[in-house]
């Protein structure tokens, strides 16, 4: 994925805690990909740990409508109200915040307010956040015990590496940081490393 050159707004916060945010995308299916670095408002950084599209009204389950249609696009064309009945949500793991001019890879003192806008960070901001292959944030993801946490971590590193001139070097430095966090669990580390395009 190529990162935008400038900040792109894609949605807003609809549930917020210090550790996790739930964001709703402004456009159906217009969610940033897994592992993308996202900024909520001006100061809170989070990564995309999940994306889901669900019915806007939980009491009205979605039913299949494509039995007679020739294509998926035709389904949407015949039922324009669908765009209004569905919403795409992103779950975000908070991994850092900004304090003045400094970027911190640990939890912010307070969560962002509801309706805070969510932005995909541009390449320059990604480089700033992960400067020098810093991977202190990884402990937040590793310790959270999400079922797919390791996949998320690998996706974050993959996405971030795209912002660097030498993605391989970034990945090696960052994975070595992860390795020291997972010093006692080589099997798990191996699972993460296997998801990375380490050009060794």
């Amino acid at each position: 994925m190529t990162l935008p050159a400038t900040t792109t707004r894609f949605g807003e916060v609809v549930e917020a805690s210090i550790e996790r945010l739930l964001g709703q995308c402004h456009a159906l299916y217009e969610a940033p990909v897994l592992g993308t670095l996202v900024r909520a408002g001006e100061s809170v950084y989070a990564v995309v740990e999940g994306v889901e599209t669900v019915a806007l009204d939980p009491t009205r389950p979605i039913v299949a409508r494509g039995a007679g249609a020739a294509s998926e696009a035709e389904v949407y064309a015949e039922h324009p109200q669908l765009e209004r009945l569905l919403r795409t949500q992103v779950s975000l793991s908070v991994i850092g915040h900004r304090e003045g001019s400094d970027v911190r890879q640990y939890l912010p003192p307070l969560p962002p307010r509801i309706h805070t806008f969510l932005h995909v960070c541009p390449a320059e901001e990604v480089r700033e956040f992960f400067a020098g292959g810093r991977s202190d944030f990884a402990s937040l993801l590793i310790r959270r015990g999400m079922p797919a946490g390791d996949d998320v971590l690998a996706a974050v590193l993959r996405q971030a590496s795209a912002a660097f001139e030498a993605p391989g070097d970034f990945l090696l430095t960052a994975s070595r940081g992860v390795a020291s966090l997972l010093a006692g669990d080589t099997a798990r580390l191996n699972a993460i490393v296997r998801r990375l395009p380490l050009g060794v």
Partner: protein
Amino acid sequence: MGVDAASPLGTVVGGSLSRGLDVRLGSAEAVEQAKVGTFVTIQGAGSRYFGIITDLRLDAADQRLASAMADADAALASVLSGTSAYSLATVSLNLTTGVGGEAPQPAKSLPGHFSAVHRASNEDVQAIFGSEDAWHIYIGSPLDMEDTRVCLDLRKFVERSNGVFGKSGTGKSFLTRILLAGILQRGVATNLVFDMHSEYGWQTKTESGHAAKGLKQLFPSRVAVFTMDPASARRRGVQTDFDVQIGYDEIEPEDIAILAQTLKITELGVQACYTLRSRFGASWILDFLKQPSDELSENIGGSSSTLDALRQRLGQLQRLDFMRDHGQGAVKRVLDHLADGRHVVLEFGRYGDDLTAYLLVANLITRRIHEEYRKRTEQALAADGKEPEPLVITIEEAHRFLGPGVAGQTIFGTIAREMRKYHVTLLVVDQRPSGIDDEVLSQVGTRITCQLDNDRDVDAVLGGASGARELKSVLSRLEPRQQALMFGHALPMPVVIRTRDYDEALYAEMSVPGAGAAPGRDKRDLFG
């Protein structure tokens, strides 16, 4: 070198004073630079510590690493190495200095966790081993520090008996030569060298084929070459000062006792020698060889077969060309030279391979020296006079003189044990230190050892040394040539060196008058 002096090799992560510190090595370069025997410094909060790497090992934070890594690829390997799979060095701590830069003391404390470990710098080496001066000679460089000079304090060196060990071809004799030349030039002691293979007095070829100057060539007026084999000396073009002949009347039963093993003389035979000596006096050997056994055995007791056997064995001395009926004053000549401050190299020529000749002559001369030095020291004590100059006697194949069976009887055993009091010490050169009596070996102050193959020899050399277990791993990894582990009395801490070359640079240094050299003597060297 890849790692510059400023970047640390690693950090202290554990360990103990007795078993050594565990140092986690940092970068991949550091892992490859850290060798067994490398000299390191550790900067603690207040003190600075000095030690050497005695062991290296690989460790992993995850004890299941071996099984987890079974299917790991290069990517994982590169991530793991240096993080959860890492190298540890064991550093044996020896010395410490305070912040004020005072003289190094034996280490009794430890640097804290995460103290940085560096390779020792030139200044560190100098702070510990001193720099070249009136008493210190440059003997070699620490491992991988070619420009740094490790110096040996010769004054301390000659205070005790010393040993140079190493299997054949490891550079023992060149190392010995450097020591002898240093002792000579700095004037810390007088040398007497029993030169078994005629390699110290005059020039010999190095293994690479270059000519290496002998002591006589370096210090013409201060060294006298005595020879047991004038024919060999002439053939080699050696200028000798004196041809040594030994009289039968100079041989004592003690001299025969040391030959018992070589000449296969029984215990009874040795006892008979003492009886014969008391009966016939100084000329006991010749008288005994002339007399029939039957008559003798009646007169002095003992079976005639014992005497027959003894006669046959002693008869072997007659094949030695330097034997004469009466002594020609050779022993006195040696003593006079030594008393005069001249250094004596006694070459054995073709007798170098004849153990009987070597043992006999070395023992006989040394016994006289022992008597003389004892007398002079005692006189000096009584009259408050001048004590004799220290004397260093160099012997090769020392285990023949100092083996467990004979060390108790031979004069060399006595010297090793007690002669420091009388200003005579030994420089023992040997390739089989395990053959030397433990008690004697424990008296050897400074040990310089090149590579040794046999485990028993390694154990013998390290016997009684503090931190022997750690040093063993260092010693067993010495390179086969020109590397030596030095430790003991004259050295503040053990150190592995690459011995300096015996070359023009050394000749040039030796031509400068040393501290103890009388000016007159050096003028003689200059103008012949």
